[in-house]
Subunit: 338 residues, 4 copies
């Protein structure tokens, strides 16, 4: 169950509730200033907690991820990033290079994102690479370059953080902290971004089940950070013709289970630039809140992920299609959860 406390309680009064939970034979986990999670339901405890002056509401919950579930939070979560509302109905477009390369390059790309109607600039500063001998990203220098691109365009920026110790540093620069697929179950890292005061985009692991993914989101939410965006970026299957298998089934399934916004990453999801546009279309048609794609003024010369990177022209066509589909489906009968 989830216990919603009255606003602005003193620590002492919160402890009174935690003590009552403990006396009831359960453990309470405080998730933010006015929320306590008790992992098991217990109708008698529920009744006694409901009587406490500190408690506004007690919500019994069956899901193993109470805070991420619609049981606790039926309406969609909306996240405001520099004036753009993720989950607000208009498709969110995030785009940028795989790796941040130089100030000139990232500013040029950011201007192209803005011109096409995009909302956020993506770009890797700390890069998880299969080989220890590959370029590992510009690090903080890359974040500074992103910040310059933000200044020039007013668009928000999103970049990956790979270790707990760097969360503070990365959060100083970015508007959204990205957790990469390899780190979906890096729990110390999830806890740390849960303590940050910035939204987090949590990519699905290569072999993460939908349940494990929502449990990973719960780690973040349980630290009091309510602003989690899920990103489907392709799962690992036996098929060799594509880099990964973009699992669009996950879009409506996640939306039925959770209130968190979900975006799709067709660049990683299929891995070949000529197929990115149709898969972005498909993601939006499946109901996704937005797309994140890799773009570069000259994809063949991109420092990483060249094969799946769009040029500006292809990107504009993608944005047009995404908006066309979104507009076409606006009058459609609402999906069960959308």
């Amino acid at each position: 169950m989830v216990i919603v406390l009255r606003p602005q309680l003193s620590d002492e009064r919160i402890n009174r509730v935690l003590t009552a939970i403990q006396e009831g034979g359960h453990t309470g986990y405080q998730a933010g200033p006015s929320t306590i999670v008790v992992p098991k339901n217990d109708t008698s405890l529920e009744a006694s907690l409901a009587k406490l002056a500190e408690v506004e509401q007690v919500v019994p919950i069956k899901s193993p991820y109470p805070l991420a579930s619609r049981e606790f939070h039926p309406e969609n979560t909306l996240i405001n990033v520099r004036g753009h509302l993720i989950g607000g109905g208009k498709p969110t477009i995030m785009a940028g290079p795989c790796s941040v390369e130089s100030v000139e390059n990232i500013v040029e790309i950011a201007q192209a994102v803005k011109a096409a109607g995009g909302h956020l600039i993506r770009g890797g500063a700390f890069k998880p690479r299969s080989s220890p001998y590959s370029f590992q990203g510009h690090g903080e220098e890359g974040l500074k370059m992103l910040a310059i691109a933000r200044e020039k365009t007013g668009l928000g920026i999103i970049s990956e953080v790979m270790e707990p110790d760097k969360v503070g540093l990365v959060a100083e620069y970015v508007d959204i902290l990205q957790i990469g697929a390899r780190n979906m179950q890096n729990y110390p890292l999830l806890r740390e971004v849960g303590k940050a005061r910035k939204p987090v985009m949590l990519k699905r692991g290569l072999s993460g089940t939908i349940e494990e993914w929502l449990m990973a989101a719960e780690y973040i939410l349980a630290q009091g950070n309510p602003d989690v965006i899920l990103c489907e970026r392709g799962i690992r299957t036996y098929e060799k013709a594509t880099r990964n298998t973009l699992d669009l089934n996950a879009v409506p399934v996640v939306q039925s289970l959770s209130h968190l916004p979900i975006v799709v990453d067709p660049s990683h999801g299929i891995g070949k630039s000529e197929f990115v546009r149709p898969m972005a279309r498909a993601g939006i048609a499946a109901g996704a809140t937005g797309v994140i794609v890799e773009i570069h003024p000259n994809p063949a010369q991109a420092w990483s992920d060249a094969a799946q990177t769009l040029d500006f022209d292809e990107f504009r066509a993608l944005v047009d299609d995404v908006n066309r589909i979104s507009a076409a489906l606006a009058p459609s009968r609402p999906l069960v959860h959308a």
Copy 2:
């Protein structure tokens, strides 16, 4: 390479070409009245064959599935079924029950398909079931019921055939022969439908790679039947939240490799009725030629696949969405292959 013969050649003259191929150290496979496949390329044989009076054209081909590849046949294959053109631009809608249950039931469904703007009636008469003790379909009686539904509505019918011996029987009734996912690599069956004079819809196997799937199509084409429709219906992955994982990546990838039309089956692809509509939308947005879905006047009472079956109302909403997306994307920049 593929050798295209002049029209209307006598057997004797065709044999002359086959002999020339053999003398050149290769084997020729006749695929229909005017096509011979030589699995390997050989520029000197190519040159000598091109000089023969019987030969119209010699097309060198790198693909392991020459007839299914765009190298041999760059433009899309169109298939006319009772006046509806599959691959002709307008999305093809096939719908019906998992199993044909009764005349009344199938006629009621067929009328709903027609009323909603659908084009073909699907329904299982010979059913592949995991258990030998489950209902195995009405067999020929089921085909007769489908034929009555066709008479009443004018819509074409599609039904599965499971064994070589029954191809003749099923082909007498249906407009499209369906090969189920379990039989994607049932080569004697593929050969037999390759000899039939009816279009064939070939479902992708649960763990079929895109290459294996196109090779399976090649078995049909190699027997002289040019009318093959591919159907993506979900692959088997580790994810347990859905019945299968609808692999929409396959849509643009197949379209880049092959001229054959591809439809998607979101009913099997996700396996839960509430998620079928968004996945149908996604399939069309990815570029699919059409969709095939399971519908029933009362899904809860369907004899099989109840959980993934739409009622008529949900089906109409699905058709509307499919048409909305198709219309919205019409002015879009063409995909690489579409």
Copy 3:
């Protein structure tokens, strides 16, 4: 439940039982002369059937594959092939070429199998090939060559059958009918080999679950053929370093669920000859009843599957290892099911 009839009943008396089942609201499936399967349990029907003079025993069963389950048949099934007892404690060794090539070749191989202490000769006469333009096997001529090899050595032979119509023909020649991985759920074929009076080796499909595999075995058993051997030959996973992933987990799991013998095929299971011996060792150590491997006097020149084929010397080392492990484990505490 399964109803065991008294021996040698007339059809009339069997029908009396079937009628009683029907009157009890259930369907009975006759599986051989003295066995009737009723897919659902029903304690009141059970009691009334137990009173019939025709009935020897009624066994209530929870499994979806009653005849294949240990609930019905707790002790291991043993299958006698020309004096060798499959499942009898001594590891069964089946070996031979992927494709039967010539009389000389198959006789040479058969003699090597015998000399090394093997029990059965494998060899493909009807070959399922991904491409319609690859060698499809010598067909009946290949079976005749196998029969000659049997004559020369006294060893039994096993070969694949791919379509219902050919079961009679193949069964005339072989000692064991093989169902290939692609046909694990080819139900008309399973039914037909279920009617044959020869043992059947059923390979697991590339993406067949253990439950589906045992259900496929049930199709054969339900036709009255009790002699089914299961063969684990590798499943399809994301790993690209090997041809397939030999799932040895399946060995103890199947043995806990079913009384049918299980052998492993490390040749297909890993796909590279240098790794076949350790995987054969592992299969036997996991508890498998035997192994089936591909061998050839000159693997590099084998007509198919060259990469995974052992030469005679490697094969002898494999047989030695298999026997060493089997002997070493003989005094070990029995596994739960072995």
Copy 4:
């Protein structure tokens, strides 16, 4: 290529080599006191480096993981842990509870490991759990309990570390640092254990390819830590009858590619206690260097992983079988790499 330096060089002389590499247009990565990796081969640079006084040997290498590959290091790596030689021919047995529970409990288990002939005690102090609301391990207290168990038995201890910051702490207590499956590609963590002066056991990720796994090992080796043990613990596949699919194919494949010792974890690999012993047998028969298993005096009451945990009696039977197989295979012809 890998450049092996003469022993005991000053930093200045090492820098001379690094400068020569840079002037040759390449980047050199120092991996320990006498090893430099240059990710690409270059025959002219190779020749000029070989002439330097500082250089003992230059080894050209094709593998993407030079230090982990047999190209650089043909003979097996042996790792001495408190007198037991991992990779030394005698199977290594590591056993213990999923979570360290109490001093009494871990000492009792450690004594059972020793009595049965085991070599290392495993036990989780920092536990990666799917839910933020599950027991996360005793942390440092758990490490202290392990240290007491070591004192009482003289056996080495192995425990997991989950974040870079905790590597120093955990390394103070354990004999082997364990990297869990979820962290196989947690690069900051891999780098940190690469700097530790303790052996590291690197578990394969749930969907890690063999290549990615060896690249992950390379991250550790590249920091100068040569003592890496690989652990196959089951991969994620479509099969639902078992927790994971123990991929024993990986054993001989890894041994052909790398000199690092490989152990198998049948507890996680199959997930049900009754099947752990046959899979441990299979792992050793496939050629693994050792096994790691979960044991508990009363598995039903274990705080985690109860279903896959052996009692002491089952564990003794497992050790006996492992030793029987190892002894039986000793006179066998050596595998290609063993």
